[in-house]
């Protein structure tokens, strides 16, 4: 009868004396996570938080005195250069969004709705613009459509005109390049939404007596809307941050990101800071809107859609037409790549007055191995992107571990801080680094970083680290906690757990993230032009220099190198990440 009505036959309730060293063990058991978090926060705050804070502070000073003069000048109606630039940026971004939405959604709908010979291949080829670094796509477009470009030249010849009918520049030129490089966001997001779309919902509406129009308005559009909103916000943000196209083609059409660059060139850092703050606020607001919207409309992503049924095109003539359309479209999308390769194959001085190049040869590629002004930028970029990537991998492993497995206060803050550089344009990151690191700091080992070769790798690290953190977090999320725990109970040290359990499982994600980060840093232009010094001219600056010397072939060779590298990376990461790889490219 023992135990009856005796709910807790208590064991020894008096505590035992604690062994020595207990305080330390307890601290280690509880504080380990906080220790790691402290390190990660220290890195984030000194690399991102501090420079941004300095920028905000500087924007409220004029010649060292606290002042609102920068903002007064910015919004001044008597000298409205900045206001005009802001207006231009907003206008350009809105028009870009509208055009990208039209092109991207139309292509997504078309390729999802219809099946015809080659449609699978064509729909994959639509993503070719993403293997273009920003500067290279602008350069290719200039060769194609710019003043003295091939296409206007051909039109002149064909129609016997006295001069080329048009030349890409200014607002129109920027817009064309924006659409070419950014419609892809709409294409991908709308495609994904269509793939999830449950066709039976439309059928249900028909059965309930709804007309086609009513169903489109009340069922189809609301379900696809989140994709449009998300893509619009992203494209808007990318357009606001865009730098290469306005820099190369803008002329007198000034946008806000260019104004920051000009202020910096003029040595007016106070103004540059204020401009950066305003541009940064807009970008952050857009990202916040994106997050809020994604959180609110999650339900649309939850459904297990059956996908819109693809309709095979059966009528012969329509099939031919569709096929022809696919070929043409793919050609148009690949035209800049083709142009780039052709220019790379034109030996110096052989293509002068002709509309099309008379000689093609591999001379320029050979120079890559013989001329230091060609291979040095490549080496520099490999080195700097490599350093940034290695740092990124180490940082991402720790930060992602904390983000996905850690239990501590401030995880939300960490998540937000890590993503800040993703939201900010390169101009802002570069400007804030110039502002913060132009004096000795404890975090920079008492050195002035501005003017050293270290600014660029650091900038690459800051700007592209979110890519690898996201990729790593995604794969860590799939690593079940119990795997780590069972390894621990089996007596493995933390190092062993990391090496034998965590690393093998998250490797594909980390590797993909690292490759993506590397190619982005490799071809980076915006921060590069703001931060490079003679000793570390990266590949994008190399292209610019070759162009200035009219060595177009050499410039194109550097471009081809980047495009090929990006293609290889895209193929590898698609292996690991599947379709997500394409989205990770941004």
């Amino acid at each position: 009868m023992a135990g009856l009505n005796d709910p807790q036959p208590q064991a020894e309730t008096r505590g035992l004396p604690r062994p020595s060293g207990q305080t330390w063990s307890k601290f280690w058991a509880v504080g380990r996570t906080y220790l790691l978090a402290a390190v990660v926060f220290a890195v984030l705050l000194s690399c991102i938080g501090y420079p941004l804070l300095q920028t905000v502070l500087l924007s409220f000073t004029r010649d060292g005195q606290p002042s609102l003069a920068n903002y007064r000048d910015f919004f001044s109606l008597s000298r409205p250069v900045n206001l005009q630039a802001l207006g231009n940026s907003l206008y350009l971004s809105v028009v870009t969004v509208v055009l990208c939405a039209a092109v991207g959604a139309a292509l997504a709908l078309f390729y999802h709705r219809y099946r015809f010979p080659g449609s699978q291949l064509f729909s994959t080829l639509v993503i070719t613009p993403i293997v273009f670094p920003p500067l290279v796509s602008v350069v290719s477009y200039m060769w194609l459509f710019g003043e003295g470009g091939v296409v206007p030249g051909l039109i002149r010849d064909i129609f016997g005109l006295s001069k080329p009918p048009f030349g890409l520049s200014g607002f129109g030129g920027i817009l064309l390049i924006h659409v070419y490089t950014q419609f892809i966001y709409f294409y991908l997001l709308v495609s994904a939404a269509l793939a999830r779309f449950d066709h039976s919902l439309e059928e249900a509406a028909y059965v309930l007596g709804a007309s086609r129009w009513y169903t489109l308005r009340r069922v189809t559009v609301p379900l696809l809307l989140p994709a449009f909103v998300a893509a619009s916000l992203i494209v808007f943000m990318v357009s606001m941050s865009s730098f290469a196209a306005p820099y190369m083609l803008g002329g007198r059409f000034r946008v806000l990101s260019m104004q920051i660059f000009v202020s910096k060139l003029n040595g007016d850092m106070d103004m540059a800071a204020a401009q950066a703050v305003i541009l940064g606020m807009i970008c952050i607001l857009v990202v916040l809107a994106l997050r809020a919207y994604e959180g609110r409309s999650q339900y649309t992503f939850a459904g297990k859609g059956l996908g819109i049924r693809a309709v095979p095109i059966t009528r012969g003539s329509a099939r031919h037409l569709a096929f022809l359309g696919g070929v043409l479209l793919s050609l148009v999308l690949m035209l800049p790549h083709i142009m780039l390769v052709i220019i790379a194959l034109v030996p110096q001085g052989t293509w002068t007055w002709q509309t099309l190049p008379p000689v093609l040869a591999f001379d320029n590629f050979r120079f890559l191995f013989t001329r230091p002004d060609l291979w040095l930028p490549v080496r520099n970029s490999v080195l700097m992107a490599g350093i940034a990537t290695v740092a990124g991998v180490i940082f991402a492993l720790v930060a992602s571990y904390l983000l996905t497995k850690g239990r501590f206060r401030g995880r939300g803050l960490l998540d937000a801080l890590v993503m800040v550089p993703w939201a900010l344009p390169g101009t802002i990151i570069a400007i804030s680094m110039i502002i913060a690191f132009n004096r000795p700091l404890p975090t920079t080992f008492g050195k002035v970083l501005v003017g050293t070769v270290w600014m660029l790798p650091l900038a690459y690290f800051i700007n592209f680290m979110p890519l690898i953190v996201r990729a790593t977090s995604a794969s860590l999320q799939q690593l079940d906690n119990s795997l780590i725990e069972s390894a621990l109970t089996l007596g493995a040290s933390w190092f062993t757990v990391f090496r034998r359990v965590i690393l093998p499982i998250v490797m594909p994600g980390v590797l993909s993230g690292a490759l993506l980060m590397f190619v982005q840093a490799f071809g980076e232009f915006t921060m590069s032009i703001l931060l490079y010094v003679v000793d570390n001219r990266p590949i994008s600056i190399g292209i610019l220099e070759r162009m200035q010397f009219f060595e177009l072939g050499e410039a194109a060779v550097l471009g081809v190198l980047q495009v090929v590298l990006m293609m290889i990376v895209l193929i590898i990461t698609r292996r690991y990440l599947g379709a997500r790889a394409t989205q990770a490219f941004f």
Binding site: M1, A2, G3, L4, N5, D6, P7, Q8, P9, Q10, A11, E12, T13, R14, G15, L16, P17, R18, P19, Q22, S25, K26, W28, A29, V30, D480, S482, L483, E485, S486, A487, L488, T489, L490, G491, A492, S493, W494, T496, V497, R500, V501, P504, I505
Partner: protein
Amino acid sequence: MAHIQLIGLSKRFGPVTAVDRVSLEIHDGEFFTLLGPSGCGKTTTLRAIAGLETPDEGQIVVDGKDITYLPANRRRVGMVFQNYALFPHMNVFENVAFGLRARGEPAQEIAHRVRQSLALVRLDGFADRKPGQLSGGQQQRVALARALACRPEILLLDEPLSNLDAKLREETRTEIQRLQKESGITTVYVTHDQSEALALSDRIAVMNNGRLEQVGTPAEIYGKPATAFVARFIGQVNVLAGTVQAVEGSRVLVDLGVGRLWAERPRSDPPPVGKTVQVCIHPENLEPAGADSSNGLEAQVELVQFNGVTTLLRFRAGAVTLEAIVLSRSPAAGLRRGMSARLTVAPEHVLILDDAS
């Protein structure tokens, strides 16, 4: 092997108190079960023993040594996770060898011990398979072999059978019992299935809302539940409310509204006259038309359910429903719906429950 003491153990997750001042003792070589409904804190307690959760208060003592804050990888504990947690990128051999390698055992010893462990769970010949190529039951046995290969002092099992189908569950549970008895390893087993707990354990701790309700042998937990919670959780028992009318020697008279029954006097202080109490009667102790007619109630048959060896009879007396289980070959099984009968029960089978909860 190992003797475990939990002393005033508490663990909170934000506002939730997952484990609330739990104190218990697990003897050397014992098969000890933590039993309770979902979310009652079983897993958290187990994880604290493994070193995977750091308690907010209290101590964990093994063989007289405080190990509360000893890192998990320095405790000699084997754990089988609910989802088995086999490393997907390693084959069966590498999985089982993992702990031995981590401890730096010589290769020959590792090969020998892995073979031994796999033989123990009857999986010789599966060494080269990846976890993905094994059935659920086989994965479960690999997890067990992996935990045992390191010769731990304590074996922790978190609902190891819950992912298996009913038939495999029976088999595996016998297997686990055999392994435990052969190795004599102190084992803490977590389950929410009371039949599993009763069948396997030397002793059981029933948990509710982070607290211990009762600790005892399966027979005690089943036969003499201390609280209404335990009574209801362990089995299909009749729990009735009543008031104390008299206390005489070792007997207490309880008025149930539809009749009066003599009950066993609880070991703690007897309840005062007039107090409202709950009593528990196991259905197999209720005898329709029993021989001893002194202690019983009049009731009407509401339902007869034939279950093979036994037959379930449900009676109604006023607002009270009572269930009785009788052997199908006994005369009582011949009762039919609508008939009246006198249900009798020996006073020692009427248990007054603690009303703590």
